[in-house]
């Protein structure tokens, strides 16, 4: 089953075209990594899928619902409010710099959306939060505030916060880029565990060895275009594409 379907997506910031006719899809249970140099449009693509940016034209479908589509008359329309709200719930996003709510405890960071959006009862929301914290190895942190945690712990809380809404697909926007190298590993381990559980994920990352290890499929983007798409083996070991090669050479993989 296809969870995300992106077709002919175009996006410009004033005069700069950041996404040029992007198309790809993501299946249930699949882990897709998007790699590419800075400014290649990979984060923007993720932000369009999570509806933090509006696209100029093209189609984005989440599950079987269209978030946005362009019809044959080239008119691009976004879904109505209700559909939009349902789509939002099915896509989670983990940010590069966590964006936890600093004035909420760890517990409330995870329960707030469940209670406000899903109308889950407080007890149930807390139970779900405790399960997730346990899974993230943060059982003793529920009453802590984000500033009391290390970067890696904060990022794990933000993953728990996203998972609490039981999204169909979880997106990661360079989840380790704001972390010290020695903290990177703990986040990558969490994502690996999620991959084992067949969580559908889309990961924008600069961690090449990680992308190679966990992905079912890798997309290499540059200057707003998908240059190459394929299995990690194909991309990292057997690519014939000059640009892909040039990019990967810098990482020594």
């Amino acid at each position: 089953m296809t969870v995300i379907e992106v077709a002919n997506v175009k996006k410009s910031f004033s005069n700069l075209e950041v996404l040029k006719e992007i198309s790809f899809s993501l299946d249930q249970g699949e882990v897709l990594s998007i790699i590419g140099p800075s400014g290649s449009g990979k984060s923007t693509l993720l932000r369009c899928i999570t509806n933090l940016e509006k696209i100029d034209s093209g189609t984005i479908k989440i599950g079987n619902r269209a978030l946005v589509s362009t019809d044959e008359n080239k008119v691009t329309t976004y879904a109505d409010k209700l559909t939009m709200a349902q789509i939002r719930l099915s896509v989670g996003l983990v940010f590069q710099n966590f964006n936890l709510f600093p004035h909420f405890s760890v517990m409330r960071n995870i329960t707030e959306a469940q209670m406000h959006v899903l109308k889950t009862s407080k007890e149930e929301a807390q139970e779900i939060a405790r399960e997730l914290l346990n899974k993230m190895g943060l059982s003793d942190k529920e009453t802590s505030y984000p500033y009391q945690l290390s970067g890696g712990q904060q990022q794990r809380v933000s993953i728990a916060r996203a998972l609490a809404l039981k999204p169909q697909v979880l997106c990661f926007d360079e989840p380790t880029s704001a972390l010290d190298p020695e903290l990177t590993g703990e986040i990558l381990a969490v994502i690996k565990d999620l991959a084992k559980e067949k969580m559908t994920m889309m990961v924008v990352t600069h961690e090449m060895s990680f992308a190679r290890d966990i992905s079912d499929r890798v997309i290499f983007m540059d200057e707003g275009v998908i240059i190459e798409e394929g299995s990690p083996e194909q991309l990292f070991l057997h690519t014939n594409n000059k640009r892909t090669k040039r990019f990967l050479n810098r990482f020594n993989t």
Partner: protein, 211 residues
């Protein structure tokens, strides 16, 4: 001496009424003004900006006189003096508070709203539960300044004949040929502001549970 103190306490009561009523009206009004100032609708933001410029760019004493006398010249009738004071102070302080709120709101990292949006929070919930609590903490020092100024600004109400603390003290000084009542008034203002400062300290401490 007892009679003097009784008089001054009556004056203080009037000053405190002006103080609290001004806060009650200007604090929420300031938020509306701030929202207007940040509006994407050009005409709204420029109108509100003009209002803020006038309020901050002219003396409060002049605004007070205007609010009290303008209705008389335009409509031939005027509001009572006390009401005029509250209106003038509320719209003046709302302009200052609005700019403080705006600074606070714009200082909140936009990632906070993005996180709220991705989690499905409504716009209102994001504003009331994510943005505002953080804004309140950040603007406390600036608000403290403004509120302390308000305590002292209540003395201007005498311009249109409202018998607040300073007016009462001046009258007593004139009767007694002595400056003592004025210094006592000074002490009263000082005590009121000591309480205001202490309250703000307490609130800041209370909000210190996170960074």
């Amino acid at each position: 001496m007892g009679k003097l103190l009784a008089l001054m306490l009556t004056g203080t009561y009037t000053s405190l009424k002006i103080f609290f009523l001004t806060l009650i009206f200007s604090l929420p009004l300031g938020l509306i003004v701030a929202k207007g100032r940040m509006s994407k609708i050009r005409i709204v933001s420029s109108l509100v900006n003009g209002y803020i410029m006038i309020m901050r760019g002219t003396p409060l004493i002049l605004q007070l006189i205007f609010v009290y006398f303008a209705p008389y010249y335009i409509f031939g009738s005027s509001t009572d003096r006390f009401t005029a004071v509250i209106i003038a102070y509320a719209i003046n302080y709302a302009a200052y508070f609005a700019e403080i709120y705006r600074g606070g709101i714009q200082s909140i990292d936009k990632g906070q709203l993005e996180a709220a949006s991705v989690l499905g929070f409504s716009k209102i919930h994001s504003f009331t539960h994510v943005v505002m609590p953080q804004v309140v903490k950040r603007i406390m020092p600036a608000m403290g300044n403004e509120v302390i100024t308000l305590v002292k600004d209540t003395a201007l109400a005498q311009t249109i004949g409202v018998a607040e603390l300073f007016r009462v003290a001046q009258n007593a000084a004139a009767r007694q040929f002595s400056t003592t009542p004025i210094f006592i008034a000074g002490l009263f203002y000082f005590i009121m502001n000591a309480i205001v400062s202490k309250s703000f300290d307490l609130i800041e401490k209370k909000l210190d549970y996170y960074h």
